[in-house]
């Protein structure tokens, strides 16, 4: 028997497990890229890009940073901003909600209709309940029936839009509110020159920022995206949290739609098509990982404002507004590829 000397194993022996052996899990990201990833994740990159754009814009066009201009940009983006809150939370769990655009339209129709029938308080409640119900359907199918989020919410995107068309007789019935009503005031009202929708959006960002960063519910949300199996093994309430988040996402989209309807003093069945894409782009540009587990609402706010500023840029350059989507799409791919490279783990 020829025996070779056992080699010392200074840095710890091989990891056991056959599955592991096949796909080694190793932290290969270097420190530099980790720092970059952290910066990108907290929306620092988005804020930096935002600052740069505003600066360039101000130099190019004197009117660019006038208060009115800024005010309009922020007001115009407050609705998508509210939608992006729910989208951020859902994406952090590793899911996606494609139904927000349709639910936004539903929120407008329900809000206006109920406001005319029973007043503004009932309108707000009815919007939250009706849209939350759509979110509940999404959440139950995803959390409990374990269906893929994109297919479930793609179906509700389509189905809810159908519902909105049905409610409005394919646009034949217009839903409008008197412009002097309290409900309309929700959208058109101003406090210290700042529009109510902007104030509501800011309030919602603060609330959900605290929820995400400072409550067990928020920590669970982050944990689910970081490792759903681990979260289950830790005994966290994974399914219930997921369902709640889809409800929140839909309710927020509905509220946003209601606010915009209030501002426009009427609800349109064709409004907000493609909002799901806008929201996803804002979330991702804000540094939230599309694979879940990390993200912040501050980043999302930066993402929304960045897209809004690009929008303003395109307007100032007198380009066709459809460039918005092209730029957003390119941004989306770039950010996702960068995210992937920063968190690169060897595939295969």
């Amino acid at each position: 028997m020829s025996t070779t000397a056992p080699t010392g194993v200074p840095d710890g022996p091989a990891t056991a497990g056959t599955g592991l052996a096949a796909r080694p899990v190793e932290p290969v990201a270097a420190t530099g890229s980790r720092v970059a990833a952290a910066l990108q994740r907290n929306g620092v990159a988005a804020f930096a890009a935002l600052a740069l754009l505003v600066l360039v814009g101000s130099v190019l066009w004197p009117s660019f940073h006038t208060l009115d201009n800024v005010r309009n940009t922020v007001l115009g983006n407050s609705y998508i901003g509210i939608v992006a809150i729910g989208m951020t939370l859902v994406i952090i769990t590793g899911g996606i909600d494609l139904s927000v655009g349709s639910v936004f339209a539903l929120g407008g129709v329900v809000g206006v209709y109920v406001s005319n029938q029973a007043g503004p308080v009932a309108a707000v409640l009815a919007t939250i309940v009706a849209c939350g119900l759509i979110g509940l359907i999404n959440g139950m199918l995803i959390g409990y029936a374990r269906m893929a989020p994109f297919i479930v919410t793609l179906a509700t995107l389509f189905g809810v839009r159908g519902l909105v068309y049905q409610l409005t007789g394919a646009g034949a019935r217009t839903y409008s509110v008197p412009s002097d009503s309290f409900f309309a005031h929700l959208g058109t009202g101003v406090l210290l020159t700042i529009g109510y929708p902007v104030l509501i959006a800011i309030a919602l960002y603060v609330v959900f920022h605290v929820v995400l960063e400072r409550t067990p519910f928020g920590l669970t949300t982050l944990a689910i995206g970081g490792g759903e199996d681990a979260a289950v093994l830790m005994g966290l309430k994974v399914r219930r949290t997921k369902v709640s988040l889809y409800v929140v996402s839909a309710a927020l989209a509905g509220v946003a739609g209601m606010l915009q309807a209030a501002q426009l003093v009427s609800a349109s069945p064709i409004i907000a098509t493609g909002y799901e894409l806008q929201a996803i782009a804002a979330v991702v540009i804000g540094g939230t990982l599309l694979t879940g587990g990390a993200g912040s609402l501050i980043g999302t706010a930066a993402g929304v404002l960045l897209l809004g500023t690009i929008n303003a840029f395109i307007r100032e350059l007198q380009l066709d507004s459809t460039w918005n989507n092209v730029v957003s799409g390119a941004f989306l791919v770039t950010v996702v590829v960068v995210q992937r490279l920063l968190n690169y783990r060897r595939a295969d």
């Binding site: 028997m1 020829s2 025996t3 070779t4 000397a5 056992p6 080699t7 194993v9 840095d11 710890g12 022996p13 091989a14 990891t15 056991a16 497990g17 056959t18 599955g19 592991l20 052996a21 096949a22 080694p24 899990v25 932290p27 420190t31 980790r34 952290a38 605290v210 400072r214 409550t215 067990p216 920590l219 669970t220 982050l222 944990a223 970081g226 490792g227 199996d229 681990a230 979260a231 289950v232 093994l233 830790m234 005994g235 966290l236 587990g293 990390a294 060897r346 295969d348």
Partner: protein
């Protein structure tokens, strides 16, 4: 510490006659173990022995089909991991049990966060308590940075800290040292000793024999889903333990020469040559040669680096250094297709994850690797494929309703023969077989082994990875034994006996032969 007697202590957690089946597999049958307060209970067994299933039943991840669990003498059922945790059973899983992108402090307190008066998470207190907890157990780690920026060993220690901080009465540790450095192992053992003195029961799963003998009081051995031994650790000699795990009696210790009479003739340059394969934490300077017509066995316990060595031959294992040569030509890492072109074939260990295409037919499964060779202009020739498939189904006695049958509906043995057929129809020069007879019935086992003999006789160079010492001894012309990713012994010719192999795998220090060992 092994002399510490715990027999009189109270049973904290018991499994009585527990059985569990999965579709097509009986994972556990009639297993009973008793874990007592203040005891470190080793749970050992090879892959597929049922360790993981038993742990998952004890921790509420799975529910047993029959039998019962008792916790502190009372029958219990754990509907989910929450329930088990609530009862004071906490677990350190080998993987998956922490959230990598969150900080250590958050990981320690997820699910039981300290709150402020406003019911918000009190991060200041969480950080303070986390630091105090880690200090208390002499674990050094920054609790504020994301977990995945810490070393694997530190992550593992955080996992341990989380488990002990739950004030558990049972702590289950599944391969807790697999990513620890020796200093960290000492810290872990310190924690285990402290828990033991506090009356906590510890279930310790590991395949590192040195550790088992250092820290464990009792040992239970599982094999093929059954409990085959339970008793004090100190009373079971090392070699006996390995023999029990592998299911071999030490008496049947003679090497039978290769079937067909006489050892195979080995001549000429090696067909397969591995030169100093090294991969951090996995492989350390592994070199070996396989000649035409030769079967070289690769032995060792779970985690010794056998499968990694096999994957390296196919170019599917990242290497830090070293080279694989087939007939003198190097194999490029990252392209199994090129390795297959060069004449390499590999039957992977995990048939389900890495081998079969479960929803495709036997025909498609056999032909997938050979498609480029059997087609013209990218068009499939069903006629040629059918001829080939029929030939191999007959040669390997694949029992199925026909070549169109879905592979997932076949028995394990027939699935394995389909895998063999996939590779044989390429007429390879080098065949790597990773656990070719695991989980298949006796008849199929015999047929597979017969096929290996035939293939070697036809001139293939075979690298055989197996946990079954009998199989290695019977089939191999030479056996290379790995431990912790390095070659620790080579058994050749007359040295090949199960006794020597088990000795080598157990790595019993033998001073007169090996003065370099410390």
């Amino acid at each position: 510490m092994a002399e510490l007697t715990t027999a009189g202590a109270l049973p904290v957690l018991e499994a009585r006659g527990v059985s569990k089946s999965f579709p097509g597999v009986k994972a556990l049958s009639d297993v009973s173990i008793t874990v007592r307060a203040g005891e470190v209970h080793a749970l050992v067994g090879e892959n597929g022995a049922g360790k993981s299933t038993l742990i998952k039943i004890l921790t509420g991840v799975y529910q047993c089909d029959s039998g019962e669990l008792r916790h502190r003498g009372e029958p219990v059922t754990f509907a989910d991991p929450r329930a088990a945790q609530a009862a004071g059973i906490s677990t350190i899983y080998q993987e998956l049990d922490l959230v990598p992108m969150q900080s250590a402090a958050r990981n320690l307190y997820l699910g039981r966060e300290p709150r402020t008066r406003l019911r918000l998470v009190d991060f200041a207190r969480m950080r303070r308590e986390a630091n105090a907890l880690l200090d208390d157990y002499q674990i050094r780690a920054d609790v504020d940075v994301p977990l995945n920026t810490l070393g694997l060993g530190t992550q593992q220690m955080i996992s341990v800290a989380r488990a002990v901080a739950l004030h558990a009465n049972v702590v289950i540790m599944d391969e807790p040292t697999s990513s620890l450095e020796s200093r960290e192992v000492e810290t872990l053992f310190g924690i285990i000793r402290r828990l033991r003195s506090e009356g906590v029961a510890i279930v310790y799963v590991s395949h590192r024999l040195d550790e088992l003998y250092r820290i464990c009081d009792t040992v239970s051995v599982l094999r093929d889903g059954r409990l085959v031994h339970t008793g004090p650790m100190a009373e079971l000699p090392r070699v006996q333990l390995v023999a029990t795990m592998l299911g071999r009696e030490l008496q049947t210790a003679l090497h039978r020469s290769a079937p067909g009479g006489g050892d195979r003739i080995v001549a000429g340059p090696p067909v397969l040559e591995l030169r100093g394969l090294t991969r951090r934490n996995r492989l350390h300077d592994v070199s070996l040669e396989v000649h035409r017509g030769e079967v070289v066995g690769l032995g060792g316990l779970l985690g010794a680096g056998r499968s990694e060595t096999g994957m390296a031959v196919l170019g599917a294992q990242e290497l830090d250094s070293g080279a694989v040569l087939v007939e003198g030509k190097p194999i490029r890492t990252g392209s199994p297709g090129a390795a297959i072109e060069a004449g390499v074939a590999l039957l992977p260990e995990d048939r389900k994850l890495e081998g079969i295409l479960p929803n495709l037919s036997i025909r498609d499964n056999i032909a997938i690797a050979a498609l480029p060779r059997m087609s013209r202009l990218g068009l499939v020739s069903d006629k040629r494929i059918d001829q080939l498939v029929e030939h191999f189904m007959a040669r390997l006695h694949i029992r199925a309703t026909g070549p169109g049958q879905k592979v997932s509906t076949l028995s394990g043995g027939n699935q394995q023969k389909v895998m063999l057929a996939r590779w044989l129809c390429l007429s390879p020069r080098v065949l790597v077989l990773d656990e070719p007879t695991r989980g298949i019935d006796v008849g199929a086992k015999f047929e597979v082994r017969q096929t290996i003999d035939e293939l070697a006789a036809e001139g293939l160079a075979v690298l055989l990875i197996s946990s079954e010492t009998e199989e290695l001894v019977d089939e191999s012309d030479r056996i290379v034994v790995l431990k912790d990713g390095a070659v620790v012994a080579v058994l050749d010719g007359d040295d090949i006996s199960e006794h020597d192999l088990v000795q080598a795998i157990a790595a019993v220090p033998s001073p007169e032969e090996d003065p370099t060992r410390d």
